[in-house]
Symmetry: C2
Subunit: 289 residues, 2 copies
């Protein structure tokens, strides 16, 4: 349906499916907001959570990153160079306040509205990008990975990134190409076994060609997710995004929640030999409520 991970990469193709599956009457987003999201593939909401909530979540992240008993857990990913904690997956299992956040009407209402159905958590994590040492992520579409490696049939998933630190234009925040979610760009090359073990630190397989990235950048330009702590970025599963490194002293932390429609349950992977573990690609589609 969305062919990818083939030795001879095909060219970009037009997306077949909608971005917004629900209606203005379904939830918090108004008609104009939904139209803009359909067009651009992302929405930034400042003051999505309060300063008090930012402080609560930040304390929670500090606690989790400092918990030595978690270091051996496969859900805890460390920075290749420094050994510091970079991400914790399935974080709602470790944190009651983040578990509650995934069901918060501000969050769940928007996820359901964008996807036009009940939803479940496909993946969650918290990300820590320390000052000075943060390395970036090359351009990619999440859906390309989820389709190839997890068997997600359609781009009927949406991510919510909640910033717990200020995103400046210069400290390695997310870059997105507005409108690029309407194009499916295949990743190059066959997926090696257990690719996720290295791809979570540095993506090398399944990346788009420089030609495709150049074409999208010249067509759509590049926007950045900037704003104070407490801002949220809602972005479509298929939008082309990436991030540079961070040489500034200003760290970045965020909570990252991926919602998938219960009508888009995972199948066998379309471009890999075996599915990834459940903490990276959850197969329990029990709806959030």
């Amino acid at each position: 349906m969305y062919p990818t991970r083939e030795a001879a990469a095909g060219g970009p193709t037009a997306r077949e499916h909608p971005t917004v599956w629900g209606a203005p009457s379904d939830g918090p987003f108004g008609a104009e907001e939904l139209a803009a999201h359909e067009l651009r593939g992302f929405t930034i909401l400042e003051d999505f959570v309060s300063d008090e909530e930012v402080a609560t979540f930040s304390d929670e992240l500090t606690r989790l990153a400092g918990d030595e008993t978690l270091r051996a857990d496969e859900r805890v990913v460390t920075e290749a160079a420094s050994g510091e904690v970079r991400s914790i997956f399935e974080v709602q299992r470790f944190s009651a306040v983040i578990d509650a956040l995934t069901r918060d009407p501000r969050v769940l209402g928007r996820a359901r509205q964008l996807l036009g159905s009940d939803v479940y958590l496909h993946q969650t994590r918290v990300n820590y990008m320390p000052g000075f040492k943060g390395t970036g992520f090359y351009w990619h579409s999440d859906f390309e990975t989820w389709h190839a490696e997890d068997g997600m049939a359609l781009p009927r998933a949406v991510s919510c990134s909640i910033a717990l630190t200020e995103n400046y234009p210069f400290n390695g925040g997310l870059m997105v190409m507005p409108g690029s979610h309407r194009t499916f760009v295949p990743g190059i090359g066959a997926t090696p076994e257990d690719n996720y073990r290295s791809s979570l630190k540095a993506q090398e397989i399944g990346v788009p060609t420089e030609e495709a990235v150049t074409g999208l950048a010249h067509t759509h330009g590049i926007d950045q997710f900037t704003g104070p702590a407490g801002s949220a970025l809602w972005f479509d599963s298929n939008i082309m995004h990436g991030s540079g490194n961070n040489i500034t002293p200003f760290p970045r932390s965020n909570i990252f929640l991926v919602f998938n429609s219960v009508e888009n349950a995972l199948d066998e992977p379309y471009g890999a030999a075996a599915p990834r573990p459940g903490y990276i690609a959850n197969r329990d589609t029990t709806p959030l409520a």
Copy 2:
């Protein structure tokens, strides 16, 4: 005078010398512009050169980067990973149009005015940062290097960077800390022999401590040199600056000219065993005219 490159790094110290040495009556900058430059340590001028000049200079850079006969010249620096040309030093010797630019009244008038005397070229180069592959430079003060490795007594030098491509906030352009030029931050560690051979590709010796960079960033914040091709950044020799990597398809090229006052001729290096070659630190103080 400005102690640096010692095994036990001292802390930051206040700069003893002025930034602007000339007067409004001396040249193109007005009184307010000079006051702002004294305060911030840099000035950005859009439309510093015309679109036609940008095209002429860009063609010149393309010609120089493509000239295989120059590849063996020590003045031509290549990217560690890809082998592509990253910088060409003493570029006015290779290019009549760039030689003329160094004497252009828009350039030379401002250099003389800021430094309050006749000036000569301490260093020149053109920089190529290709899309996708551009690596950044860690935070540093040029004057720290020029003082330690070249024997430049005082921060009475100024750099002019002319952008030949658009500087976005996200394609690895220069970051500066406004006002940081008023503080001298020592570099850590003794200078190894022939340090310049590696330091031009990736600075490792003489870098400021993370503590010092953090202090300056929290005091002064970070600005970026953004703007269309043809913009110029004039910046003090002692301003703290750096750049991130560039994962976007948008390349960056610029012409970089460093002017030193003829009254600030190089001495023996204050923090290195031997002076660097003349194409990196020119010792011919014949004034530009």
